[in-house]
């Protein structure tokens, strides 16, 4: 192998890099974006829930809830340091908790969360708290909780909002997504949608 062969190889490599950048880096993502704009405009732009011109969030991004009139979601680990708006106002964003479930630190975190949840739900007595209410999710912004975790909160929400438990359950049912074909994935309740319905917005 001589210098010419190597120089020719380098030239071929450079051309291949440029061709791939055009085909895989420009044509491909714009083609998919084009299909999105035409066929799936809502999904392509983040599944935003917009009512009367106000954007209340994305169906796919959870929010922190602690008000007694609202359904509570997974514990979030949020910060306002990552992103800022156009005028420099802080925006909320989430990160994973990244803690070992076999550590003493985790045991303390869980015990504290469970105590808070139990104190807010005296009607549930000594019933154990569903695990998803005391564990952070992989993304830090899981938009869902399990039907069991929603059912655990029905009494408290009904008392705080003045609605009947049946009304609260009906709203939760409307916002529950079932496993695909009854087998794939888990049943889950979209927390933001439930709260927008509880507030009479949706």
């Amino acid at each position: 192998m001589n210098g010419t062969t190597i120089a020719r190889g380098a030239a071929s490599a450079a051309v291949l890099f440029l061709l791939a950048t055009v085909l895989c880096g420009i044509v491909y993502p714009w083609a998919v974006a084009g299909v999105g704009a035409v066929a799936f405009p809502a999904q392509a732009t983040g599944s935003i829930i917009e009512v009367d011109g106000v954007k209340y969030g994305s169906e796919l991004v959870g929010q922190p809830f602690s008000d007694p009139t609202h359904l509570w979601g997974r514990p979030t680990v949020a910060n306002a340091t990552t992103f800022a708006g156009e005028d420099g106002e802080p925006l909320l964003w989430y990160e994973p908790e990244n803690i070992s479930p076999a550590s003493d630190e985790f045991a303390a975190v869980v015990a504290e969360r469970a105590a808070v949840v139990r104190a807010a739900h005296p009607g549930e007595g000594d019933a154990p708290v569903p695990s998803d209410l005391v564990t952070a999710s992989g993304s830090g912004f899981d938009p869902h909780i399990s039907p069991a975790a929603a059912e655990y909160q029905v009494g408290r929400i009904a008392a705080a909002t003045g609605r009947s438990e049946e009304e609260v359950r009906a709203i939760i049912r409307q916002c529950t997504e079932k496993p695909l074909l009854g087998a794939l994935g888990a049943s889950r309740v979209n927390v933001l949608k439930v709260n927008l319905m509880l507030d009479g917005i949706l």
């Binding site: 192998m1 732009t45 922190p64 908790e97 479930p101 708290v129 952070a136």
Partner: protein
């Protein structure tokens, strides 16, 4: 076994069966398009292939010897590395940057570029916070196509070497890369990205969305969220951000190309990247699809499909053991979570057990399956927090990565590692019974043995060396979120992930520092390029040998006995290299905290 474990394992078995069912026809397709046979795909896209070859000045007939093939691969990797580094450092002056991301500092750019050209996709920074759309789509995602394409080229070079009749020729590297992208990766990625888009993954070049919070939150002076009545609260935050961008196109190829680098830091745990159980299933199936098809393509290329099935059987045995271990551990949760009965860790409707770091729409079982497949193949994408896994759920992925991409592995690199182990097994087995070693009709001489050994052992050496450097670094230069056994697991996981070109992380390690960026960056390059060189050298010397007719004294390499021997060798090499390190990390944690 509990109902939750059984149901999770049934789902896992169904997924693996489906992948195998798709891998069989795909293996035939791979051989057809990579060998340049006329197929419907080539009838349609042939003009693009020919135009690309004309522009590059290469011809299919110009078949390369192993040295030229290797130099071409190294030159191409160097060009990609330089190009990607330039894009990442200069993103502030490039288009598609609605969030106004500044160029990355040199050490971060070096690490990311090394990571993506080596099919690792380790990320020292969360993509949505620091990278422009140009860096993501035209920088990282392009390498998500090219690095598996290089792997496919190398795998077919090895297969041609095994099948060749003394020619010493391995094919044309550049033609192979073009074919891999055009006929294999692009069509599959397009299909998967459209499903993702339909299910809810964003795909837009508009900037991020700002939304109203239904419940405003209070923050302290440092920007951390605190209770509204906390005296440290200084202001209210009323809005949140929703990161958008060309996500669907990138998510598809990060799974299919065993890349793993998410558009977002949360990877496929983010409901934006992985919105539904359907996308989760397909993304999970996409990881082993091409690696499995390549193992079967191996049988087709050497003219004896039983050879491919034998290697596949070994892969499935290892995969099955890993699956049972992780599913059982995650479904059982930990005493720390159960909190003396205060927390219900039983069935929540298909997801019992350790929900820490898991998403509700996905559940515990499918998250365990994903964790196994992402580390069995060298993908490294995650749909749950790896840090949130139980100690066994952390140890098994480290073992799968540390075995050296044999359980599927990366696109191309996985098959290469498996063949390296097969050659090693043939050699040891033949010596035990006093036969002269040969594999698929090719005599295995000292040159082949040297190269197979380098290919098999070098990733483990690189991993242990990097783990040593990180562990011995002065206090403060390398920091982890927790100390003790878990802190060591964090270092060991990072070193293993980088050296095995996986890319997943326990995420407790402060990764974006010059020292860690440098050590892991060099490690990723060595973990990729040293085995690549060894495999191509092995292919070259096999290609130069004339095949011998097999006689009565030839060891059958398609028999269950051979599969068993291969498994013993893989586990032995893995145990010898990994056990001491594992004992200090996740095993110590398991025995002190869970049992």
């Amino acid at each position: 076994m509990g109902a939750a474990v059984t149901s999770a394992l049934l789902q896992a078995a169904a997924l693996v069966a489906l992948v195998l069912a798709c891998a069989i026809p795909l293996s035939g397709y791979l051989v057809n398009v990579m060998e340049g046979r006329l197929t419907p795909a080539r009838r349609v896209l042939g003009p693009v292939e020919r135009a690309a070859c004309r522009l590059m000045g290469v011809r299919e007939e110009d078949s390369m010897g192993w040295r030229r093939f290797l130099v071409s691969a190294l030159l191409f990797t160097a060009v990609c590395f330089a190009g990607l580094t330039a894009i990442l450092m200069g993103q502030g002056r490039l288009p598609w940057n609605p969030e106004g991301c500044a160029g990355l500092p040199a050490d971060t750019a070096f690490n990311l570029a090394a990571s993506f050209v080596t099919n690792t996709d380790w990320q020292p920074v969360a993509g949505e916070t620091r990278l422009s759309y140009f860096s993501q789509a035209a920088g990282l995602a392009v390498q998500n196509f090219l690095s598996p394409a290089v792997g496919l080229a190398a795998a077919f070079a090895l297969l041609r070497g095994l099948a060749a009749h003394g020619t010493g020729k391995l094919g044309n590297f550049f033609v192979d890369v073009v074919r891999a992208v055009l006929y294999v990766l692009l069509p599959l990625a397009l299909a998967l990205s459209l499903v993702g888009l339909w299910q809810g993954t964003p795909q837009t070049f508009e900037g991020y969305e700002t939304v109203q919070l239904l419940e405003p939150v209070a923050i302290d002076a440092q920007g951390n969220v605190v209770a509204a009545d906390d005296p440290a609260a200084v202001r209210e935050v009323t809005e949140a951000v929703v990161p958008l961008g060309p996500q669907a196109s990138q998510v598809a190829i990060k799974q299919l190309g065993t890349n793993g680098g998410g558009f977002n830091g949360a990877n496929s745990a983010s409901a934006l990247e992985n919105p539904t159980p359907l996308t989760n299933f397909l993304q999970c199936a996409a990881m082993p699809l091409i690696p499995f098809a390549l193992v079967l393509a191996f049988g087709r290329m050497v003219g004896d499909r039983r050879q491919g099935r034998a290697l596949m059987a070994a892969v499935l045995v290892l995969l099955g053991v890993a699956l049972v271990a992780v599913v059982a551990a995650e479904t059982a949760a930990t005493p720390q979570l159960a909190a003396d009965g205060a927390v219900y860790v039983g069935d929540l409707g298909q997801s019992a057990g350790n929900m820490e770091g898991k998403e509700c729409r996905i559940g515990v079982g499918p998250s365990a399956l994903w964790a196994v497949l992402t580390t069995a193949t060298a993908t490294g994408a995650t749909n749950a927090s790896m840090a949130g896994m139980t100690p066994v759920g952390v140890a098994v992925p480290i073992v799968l990565m540390g075995l050296g991409e044999v359980v599927g592995g990366g696109v191309g690199t996985g098959l290469a590692a498996l063949v390296g182990f097969a050659v090693l097994t043939v050699f040891i087995a033949s010596l035990m019974v006093g036969r002269s070693p040969e594999y698929l009709g090719k005599k295995i001489g000292p040159a082949e043995m040297r190269m197979a050994t380098v290919a098999v052992v070098s990733p483990a050496l690189v991993i242990l060396a990097a783990a040593t450097v990180l562990a011995l670094a002065p206090t403060g230069a390398v920091s982890t979120s927790q100390g003790g056994a878990y802190g060591f697991s964090d270092l060991l996981y990072a070193a293993t992930s980088a050296g095995a070109n996986n890319g997943s992380a326990l995420a407790g390690l402060a990764a974006n520092t010059p020292l860690v960026n440098g050590v892991l960056g060099v490690e990723m390059l060595l973990g990729r390029l040293v085995p690549l060189a060894a495999v191509l050298a092995l292919a070259g010397s096999l290609a130069a040998r004339e095949p011998q007719p097999s006689g009565a004294g030839t060891l059958s390499t398609a028999s269950p006995l051979f599969v068993g021997l291969l498994l013993v060798i893989i586990v032995l090499v893995g145990a010898l290299t990994l056990l001491p390190a594992l004992a200090l990390g996740p095993l110590a944690e398991q025995f002190t905290t869970v049992l």
